[in-house]
């Protein structure tokens, strides 16, 4: 099956964006989780990273129903996309994942510096130990702030 992730979206996903994950439990109670970077493989599977300590409830939710929404927004241009789909698997982060997290944090820190945010402040966020969560994308929505935001761009 053809990937929904275009080359431009892959660059965006692997860039220095603010990233958040949404999950929900069996009672439809939603859960916010901070994401620490993402990568896309040749099959269009997104792997994204979370701190283990802050994703306990999200992992319980994924075990319950596999449903994930992640939203990425550029802190500089406000370009924003939401990806909805299902978790394929999750695991403890390996060395490659750790490198991706470090690269993300540096890039995000640099982007925030441009906005006048104090250098190094984001390293306060817990990042270790971390999890790698793999997601198959089923639908993509553009959410850049403008009239018409929220439109599906994958169907």
């Amino acid at each position: 099956m053809q990937s929904l992730i275009t080359p431009d979206l892959k660059v965006f996903i692997e860039g220095s964006q603010g990233i958040s994950m949404g999950t929900r439990d069996k009672d439809l109670t939603p859960e916010y989780t901070r994401v620490l970077g993402a990568s896309v493989n040749e099959d269009g599977i997104i792997t994204f990273y979370t701190a283990k300590d802050t994703s306990v409830k999200a992992i319980e939710n994924i075990d319950n129903n596999k449903l994930i929404s992640i939203t990425l927004a550029s802190p500089l241009s406000y370009e924003c996309y939401q990806f909805k789909g299902k978790c394929i698997t999750y695991r403890d982060s390996n060395e490659i994942d750790q490198g991706n997290i470090e690269r993300y944090l540096k890039g995000f820190n640099d982007a925030l510096n441009i906005l006048g945010i104090r250098d190094g402040i984001i390293y306060k966020w817990p990042s270790q130990p971390s999890m790698a969560i793999e997601m198959k994308v089923e639908e993509i929505f553009e959410q850049t702030p403008k009239v018409g935001a929220g439109k599906s761009i994958s169907k």
């Binding site: 603010g18 439809l28 916010y32 929404s69 924003c80 939401q82 945010i117 403008k146």
Partner: protein, 130 residues
């Protein structure tokens, strides 16, 4: 008391927040929003501009989860919320409109950011996550 003093800088709209909601058929939705506004120690109001799917979800399933980030030191909290009511006039609406205008002017979004409703939520739980 849900909102402590050290959390109030995170409610100034300087660092955008993310709201997670869930439709009645169980699909989670995550959207960035401009404002999580302090109402009182037990309530916050979210700016309803164009997060239409979030609003539809809240009408179907009145639960939400949002993060707030302090611009001073990037401390972060997660708030579990229950929808209470919407306001499109009055003191709260006017204050949020003014703050939204300030946020819009800082971000060059004056033509895009127009407050439709102040969506008021009761805070069910607070967790500091950074």
């Amino acid at each position: 008391m849900m909102i402590k003093e050290e959390m109030k800088p995170a409610l100034q709209g300087i660092v955008p927040s993310c709201i997670v909601t869930c439709s009645k058929d169980g699909i989670p939705n995550a959207t960035y929003i401009s404002q999580v506004y302090y109402v009182d120690e037990e309530h916050v109001a979210l700016s309803h501009q164009f997060f239409n799917k979030s609003i539809r979800n809240i009408r179907e399933n009145p639960k939400a989860s949002v993060n707030i980030v302090s611009p001073e030191d990037f401390s972060m909290w997660k708030l579990d919320l229950q929808y209470s009511h919407s306001e499109n006039e009055g003191e709260l609406y006017d204050q949020m409109s003014l703050q939204l205008e300030a946020i819009a002017s800082m971000t060059g979004m004056e033509d895009v950011f127009k407050l439709k409703y102040a969506e008021v939520f009761k805070i069910i739980a607070v967790q500091q996550i950074a």
